[in-house]
Symmetry: C2
Subunit: 208 residues, 2 copies
DNA sequence: AGGCGATTAGAAAAAATTTTCTAACTCAAT
DNA sequence: ATTGAGTTAGAAAATTTTTTCTAATCGCCT
């Protein structure tokens, strides 16, 4: 691993542990086993380190979205949630302190907002897919799905932060998935319940 | 208003605008029309200012909880949401950056966690009250209400932060209330729907 | 071996921020 | 008017944190 990568990786560790604003260059240098002067050689300033990390995060985020562009089945949704959870865990500092990061980097805010819009759209598509194939009930009145899509995005994105505040501990994958599925369950048709139960009993996660 | 109060009020304004960690003593002093030295006379250090604000917040929070200890009817819930919304708006800096504040003040974290537990319990009671009087359906399986109570707490507490990230703007009261009610609607009985519709049409909020 | 660019550590400087100090000011009670 | 406690502003000092500078080291190429 190059020094530059070591520094980024050390910074990520520090940010995740203490929150971006509480991390000093010295902490990062110590964690990376390098000197502060060396950090300055590889990055013009502290902001560049944060931005470097955000670029990585964003790249992986977009990759994730591409990979799970179409997720018609409950199994797919469940896998999507697992991938999202792991990604959020990896870049915790951003998801726990999004406001702090976007405040410090207006350019990040703009890009991230666009990304959010795409994610909300994806949830909307998931709702429509699954309504059309009969596992979810059609929305009782127009706008229900739009509202639910927002709530799905919010829950799937902020659940870690909520639990961090409430329980002073990061949630596990299972709790995370349950929180999101809980939003979908009320819409299940009989067929939907069947598929859900079947998924819960499916052995795919024995391979993990 | 005493200088001490002026300082707290100015600090609140600054914190709400820029986030606690981004506010300098000079900002607060300017906003209060006082000098930094004067701040130091009234508060031993910056932490004391933050703590002073949190104490006020907590007092009002507890007062709110007492006032709305029992909220059996939908009308009451709606009013509770209004009061909570206003309180959160007033002390935005805390609700938008809870993690930051609790990280900086471990004693705040402990107290706030206790408070959260009480709030979750209150939501649970609301669910049970309303099930028993026939406007909500009994939970399909045990634990549903417990999970929903958590989700109600999370939404009612973090909705502002979510919208701040997503839309770069604070939500209005109506959007806030809708987000919470959306969680309850799926549980309504026919009677519940009636009461809800009636409340939506009730003219009480014309007085606001 | 010698040279050379890239990398590194550590010190020094600079910048940002908080805390302490001091002298002056206000205003109520004498 | 005078006193004195409480209040205030502004400067100075201290502290914290980032950025710049310098000399030393490393590894590769000849």
């Amino acid at each position: 691993m190059s020094t530059k990568e070591k520094i980024l990786s050390a910074a990520l560790k520090c940010f995740n542990a203490d929150g971006m604003v509480n991390v000093r260059l010295q902490h990062i240098a110590d964690e990376a086993g390098k000197s502060v002067g060396n950090l300055a050689y590889h990055f013009p300033n502290k902001q560049a380190i944060v931005l470097g990390l955000y670029k990585k995060l964003e790249t992986e985020q977009i990759e994730l979205l591409r990979e799970f562009r179409i997720v018609p089945l409950f199994d797919n949704i469940d896998h999507l949630l697992e991938a999202v959870f792991q990604h959020q865990q990896t870049y915790r500092f951003f998801y726990l302190d999004t406001l702090e990061v976007t405040r410090a980097f207006p350019e990040v805010q703009a890009e991230y907002q666009k990304h959010i819009e795409t994610e909300v759209q994806q949830w909307l598509q998931i709702l429509e897919f699954n309504t059309s194939r009969g596992v979810m009930t059609p929305e009782p009145r127009p706008g229900c799905h739009a509202g639910l899509a927002l709530q799905l995005w919010a829950t799937s994105t902020h659940y870690m932060a909520q639990e961090m505040v409430r329980a002073a501990a990061l949630p596990g994958l299972q709790a995370y998935k349950t929180a999101v599925w809980n939003l979908l369950i009320p819409l299940f048709t009989k067929l939907g319940h069947q598929e859900y139960e079947q998924m819960l009993q499916s052995p795919y996660d024995l391979f993990y």
